[in-house]
């Protein structure tokens, strides 16, 4: 069950944020989310996030693209209407393969790239008319925000986060509709 109240601790420096994350993790508190204006190197490792598997999906999409290219051209050029076009051997796929390689390559890249991007959008829930999930507009400019759930430990958490160098601490009711 999700907590109804969360703490928003705001930082102004990514190094301070990194050490804060390590302290909070060491105290075994669960960090709900961190909002940063730019990628902070090593933050995912410090938070203990699982590595992404998007490269694996991309490889599989590439295999799909290669298969589409081969099946398509084998059907069109070899099976369906094997014409003699400028003396190119259309007796079997292998014999005429060098001519198909540019298309095989491009379709592999096309599938791998586009389907991976779409996978990324789906997994991170991004689309044109999506309502922004930003708890504080300053986090897109120069502030960092750590969100920690409260389970009847408000004062303890507040003092812990103060110690880690937070410049501002807000306790907010979590608005479920925003997600």
């Amino acid at each position: 069950m999700e907590a109804s109240k969360v703490i928003h601790a705001i930082y102004t420096d990514d190094d301070v944020l990194m050490s804060a994350v390590k302290k909070v993790k060491a105290q075994k508190h669960h960090i709900e989310e961190i909002y940063t204006p730019f990628p902070v190197h090593g933050l995912d490792k410090a938070m203990g996030l699982a590595p992404t598997r998007i490269a694996i999906t991309s490889f599989l999409y590439g295999c799909v693209g290669l298969t589409v290219a081969i099946v398509m051209m084998n059907f069109i050029m070899i099976k369906d209407w094997p014409q003699d076009i400028g003396g190119k051997p259309s007796f079997s796929y292998l014999e005429n393969m060098p001519a198909f390689v540019p298309i095989m390559f491009e379709l592999t890249v096309f599938f791998a790239a586009h389907l991976m991007v779409i996978t990324f959008y789906l997994r991170s829930r991004m689309w044109p008319f999506k309502k922004a999930e930003n708890p504080d507009p300053r986090t897109t400019d120069d502030h960092f925000l750590m969100e920690v759930a409260i389970h009847n430990n408000e004062s303890e958490l507040t003092s812990l986060l103060k110690d880690t160098g937070a410049v501002e601490i807000n306790i907010v009711d979590k608005d479920e509709d925003a997600h």
């Binding site: 490269a55 490889f59 060098p98 001519a99 390689v101």
Partner: protein, 457 residues
């Protein structure tokens, strides 16, 4: 950080060289046991042994050879097996191919190891010119490998000098003389570039330039270790940038001279690049393998997994670059199918099907699938295993450049070829590991050293 070549390694290298030498000498004796006197019997027994199917095959190979391996002047009218010094044309060609084989095998082995050292030299210069922050911990390994550039290059030139027309048909007597039986109009037209004097003067200029850069770069690199300022580093940066300009011109010309000219009727524009890609990827592979070896001896604690990861990425990327160039050359020629240039691939596909397509699997498919995963690039034995396959693949690549033009259908990877690999492999190991022992493995004066030590990917 101090390394001294171990006695075991030195003995191993010397044993390799001795065994290799035996193989090479055997190759020469074996091929010269076939002479004008007994060639007819040997060919007859070949036909007899292999049956009729093979006999027909041998005839076709004679034809293909005449069309591009040797001279175009031999057109079909010369094919009627007219007697020529007591030998038929078929016998004469077979004799030439048998005699060429030990020279070609020696040349392939020598060029392969020389090419590795030169590829490393180019990589080293790029690291300096680009002011790379990750690679200075590997500089001494690279400097060790490049110590083979000068001896290796001189050996290649010496073999070219000794082999003469056994390798380069444009050196045949009378090729440029109108009216001579060997006269070849196409080759005569190229004699402004392809002549013996020019070949060796150019070869010495290329080699001189490369070794001068190598000499001074190594000198400044050592001097930087005990310097109080960065003057030596800056000098190295400047000469590296200048060397790269010199290198890219001379490497291309070297590829025409030392490799492409074995087929003097054929030419290709991107051949220089293709040769470059082959030497570059073999060079990087050898850097990775020697680094992993020295690291396993506990001599390179400052080299971490991320350095190996970067080298493996280069092995992966340049393998694909090599394939791109190989395919670009093959596909353009296959597609347009112009007789005068397509013969190059016809010979190779007809007689070298396995090495020609096999190297594609070894140089492309294997590294592509094994080194794609980021985690695998950090596993040392994975990098070594892929490296061995890549090196074997690029040996085959050199084999496919030289052999089809010199021995045509009479190729085999036997005593002469393996002997040459052992001979030059042993020499390469001996020279490289002796050079590695001459300076600290840690180039401590390099201004990027701190960054390189802490390099993390």
């Amino acid at each position: 950080m101090e390394y001294k070549i171990s006695n075991r390694l030195r003995m191993g290298a010397i044993i390799m060289m001795v065994l290799g030498l035996i193989g090479v000498v055997y190759g020469f004796i074996d091929s010269h046991s076939v002479t004008e006197a007994n060639i007819s019997e040997i060919l007859a027994s070949e036909h007899h042994d292999h049956g009729d199917a093979h006999a027909t095959d041998m005839h076709t190979s004679g034809h293909t050879n005449e069309e591009h391996g040797e001279t175009v002047a031999h057109t079909d009218e010369h094919h009627n097996d007219e007697a020529h010094g007591g030998l038929t044309h078929h016998e004469e060609h077979a004799l030439h191919q048998i005699h060429n084989r030990p020279y070609a095998a020696l040349y392939v082995g020598a060029f392969f190891f020389f090419m590795i050292a030169l590829g490393v030299l180019a990589f080293y210069a790029i690291q300096y010119a680009a002011q790379a922050g990750w690679s200075p911990v590997l500089f001494r390994v690279m400097e060790g490998i490049t110590s083979y550039v000068l001896p290796g290059g001189l050996i290649v030139l010496a073999i070219a000098f000794a082999a003469d027309s056994h390798l380069f048909v444009w050196l045949k007597e009378g090729v440029t003389e109108v009216g001579h039986e060997n006269y070849d109009k196409l080759v005569a037209g190229k004699s402004g570039w392809l002549n013996k004097t020019g070949f060796f003067i150019r070869g010495l200029i290329f080699l001189g330039g490369w070794s001068l850069y190598r000499h001074f770069s190594r000198k400044f690199s050592i001097a930087q270790d005990s310097a109080s300022d960065n003057r030596n580093f800056k000098k190295n940066f400047r000469i590296s940038a200048a060397f790269l300009v010199f290198y890219i011109y001379t490497e291309s010309m070297m590829a025409w001279d030392w490799v492409m000219s074995v087929d003097p009727h054929w030419f290709s524009t991107l051949f220089g690049w293709y040769v470059f890609a082959s030497m570059f990827v073999s060079g990087i592979t050898v850097i990775a393998m020697i680094t992993i070896y020295l690291k396993s001896k506990g001599l390179l604690e400052f080299v971490n997994d991320s350095h190996i990861h970067d080298l493996a990425k280069f092995m992966f990327g340049i393998s694909i670059f090599w394939t791109y160039l190989w395919f670009s050359q093959f596909m353009l020629i296959w597609y347009s199918n112009i007789p005068e240039e397509v013969t190059y691939f016809v010979t190779r596909i007809e007689h070298y099907k396995l090495p020609f397509f096999g190297m594609l699997a070894m140089n492309f498919v294997f590294p592509l699938l094994l080194l794609m995963n980021s985690d695998y690039k950090r596993i040392n034995w994975f990098v070594i295993m892929t490296g061995i396959v890549i090196l074997c693949g690029h040996y085959l690549d050199v084999f496919n450049w030289i052999m089809p033009a010199t021995v045509v259908g009479r190729w085999f990877i036997g005593m002469p070829e393996i002997g040459a690999i052992l001979l030059f492999g042993g020499l390469f190991l001996l020279i490289v590991f002796t050079a590695l022992g001459k300076a600290s493995l840690f180039a401590k004066g390099n201004p990027f050293m701190k960054e390189s030590e802490h390099f993390h990917y």
